[in-house]
Symmetry: C2
């Protein structure tokens, strides 16, 4: 059995790297805070005899040998980066829960058949560098390493430069590790488990998601001296699209549609805005429904903006199709939750996860635990001591079960 207090202490200890006044974490990928938590993680893994290797885009692998090291390793992992105002559990629980499982194997001297690895995937959040799940995507062949290196943040700094700056560009070729399986523990980030009082979410897949970027161009002008009928106000145009996107989400439930980021230029109180950049996030478990949402979004641009004398550019920058996880691994999670006596339910993930890409190259699945009010990507994100412990225990049980089978 895992040690719940040790897991909790590690969660609270690492929460200090980028800890915010409101009890959350700001640990953007490849920032100084990301380096701090990576250093800590490496030291902890080495302290229990694991060998840590790093690939060319900063993915970290901590390996504990098995009885037969010719077998492909069983991986457990998630990510240590966070949103700009993120919580203490999103991603972190999956890595530290894996660390706790590994510490338990080590302490007990339990010998697995296959080697076991903990993985920390780079830039899962996609908040600093879009898209999300970037480095697991490269690992799975969805993107090239060059593509990852060339992503830039909103200040123009590149992934590649920042990776080198914090000293986490490794030697290993991306994707050189071949997993026998991967299990990712994560908080649900939605309200269902809490609502239904279930401790464990048995995750059968991930919904499809598409990201877009839009730039609306009008004309900077004086707010006092420019009559209403002469304006080309890019922000009013963007406002109409923001509303249209929200309406698309409402029409296509359980799909969701969001504008999360907006940059207004020149952003001055007495200037009619001349240019607005914003992003769109559309998701649905059903790819055909996603197609329909995309069509409606594009129609909204075309119907709304030109009559306002506004030009626009629109680009699909990311398309992550719906994913189904491996039945034999799902069975291991069910077995692990049963053994530990937890109530569970099957569910499809609304959030994207590294597991969604890894499923392309290895049998993969996920384990969810509840979070208070379904709240995530929020500094108030909260998962209890018992819920964290339950997740790590089921993770360990599932790994052992898979290894035994």
């Amino acid at each position: 059995n895992i040690n719940p207090q040790r897991l909790w202490d590690s969660l609270m200890e690492t929460a200090k790297f980028g800890g915010t006044a409101k009890g959350g974490i700001r640990r953007l990928t490849l920032s100084d805070e990301d380096k701090q938590v990576r250093d800590w993680f490496k030291a902890q893994c080495e302290a229990i005899g694991c060998t840590v290797s790093i690939d060319e885009i900063g993915n970290m692998f901590a390996r504990r040998p098995g009885r037969d090291n010719g077998l492909p390793p069983i991986a457990m992992g998630s990510h240590l980066d966070t949103q700009p105002t993120g919580g203490k559990f999103d991603g972190v629980l999956g890595v530290l829960g894996a660390l706790e499982a590994m510490r338990t194997l080590h302490e007990q001297g339990y010998e697995t058949n296959a080697p076991v690895e903990i993985v920390n995937w780079t830039n899962e959040e996609g908040s600093r560098f879009a898209p999300a799940m970037l480095a697991s995507g490269v690992f799975a062949g969805a993107f090239t390493a060059q593509y990852a290196n060339e992503r830039t943040d909103r200040d123009g700094k590149s992934f590649g430069e920042e990776l080198e700056r914090i000293g986490y560009r490794g030697e290993e070729k991306v994707g050189a590790h071949k997993f026998g399986a991967m299990f990712e523990l994560h908080i649900e980030q939605g309200p269902i488990l809490e609502d239904e009082k279930k401790m464990i979410g048995v995750v059968t897949g991930v919904q499809g998601m598409r990201w877009y970027e839009v730039t609306v161009t009008g004309q900077d002008a004086h707010t006092g001296a420019t009559p209403m009928y002469l304006r080309k106000n890019a922000l009013v145009g963007a406002a109409r699209i923001i509303e249209a996107v929200d309406a698309i989400g409402h029409r296509h439930q359980p799909g969701v549609a969001t504008v999360g980021l907006i940059e207004n230029k020149p952003n001055s109180r007495n200037v009619v805005p001349g240019e607005v950049f914003f992003t769109i996030d559309l998701r649905h478990p059903d790819e055909q429904a996603l197609d329909a949402m995309e069509k409606e979004f594009r129609a909204a641009l075309e119907v709304t903006l030109p009559p306002m004398k506004l030009a626009y550019e629109e680009k699909l920058i990311w398309n992550s199709p719906a994913v189904k996880f491996a039945p034999e691994l799902i069975a291991c999670v069910r077995h692990g939750a049963e053994t530990a006596g937890y109530a569970m339910r099957e569910m499809v993930s609304g959030a994207g996860h590294d597991a969604a890409y890894i499923a392309r190259v290895a049998p993969t699945t996920m384990i969810f635990v509840p979070c208070e009010g379904g709240l995530s990507h929020n500094e108030a994100e909260s998962t209890s001591f018992d819920e964290c412990a339950a997740g790590a225990q089921v993770l360990l049980n599932a790994v052992i079960e898979h290894d035994r089978r």
Copy 2:
């Protein structure tokens, strides 16, 4: 007669302090670029024998003595600060046109009865530190010097700190100068003069303007895992208000209504926005119409946001009532334009100007010249060689006429 080439050369020379790739100027008040243009201006005034004094909030006064130095000085002036993506003429023409008038007096050895002064007012734009016309407002008793010093920009730096940093806090008490009159030359910043092919706008007043700040608060949440019906999306709420404000402007023409600045938090592609800050600028020549616009704006907040489970705070941060200029000075401008043979028309300014505050403490008026397409607060802002010359000539004529009377 003024020297049009010398005026143009000075305009182009100072356009380098903060010059942008697109031919505009970025010279935010109290920035390094503002210091550069101030240093240049001081040197030029001293080169023609003027004495330059600076008051406690950075207003600069360049004085040329008259025959009777007991008489209150006749002031000519405007501002050298610009918008973040401003043009080469807004404000600058008023200061350099005055410099050209002064150079002409000097060159001709023309002796005025009263002393004549050129003024450069600090922070007219209000873009870095709100509100606009801040230092002329202190000069006229609308604000205290302490209020000005405590204004902060969006990065939290204060007016007082920044004034000291660039070395332009003077010794003189604000308002110690008592003007006999002030004339402000400016580009129109709107389309009327160009439309009607008039060279000179005889400005009879300035419309009323009110600035507000709004913060809308919802809840940060995951864009993928948060169902539409559970969201408290602050950006969708803000978008509705942006549209409502635009509609208020359209309903109350010739009034105008604008959201110019917006800050979205946490501004991440996969986070439902939890907090949005934005500003509103309402203007109308008629104070009663402004009252009605304000009422409709407040009603829009109340009707729109609470049903979306969004909280908000709203604050009127600036109220600059409609202003009427001094008839005896307006007559001098008419006379000056007639003498020079320019077509003119009377008009009310849509933009705010330092003259609007100075009118509270001295007889004041303004002279407008056209700008291409009525475009201002835009890097493409353009006023021709001849138009700049015409403005400076009428300014000089009006000052001499006033001095003569």
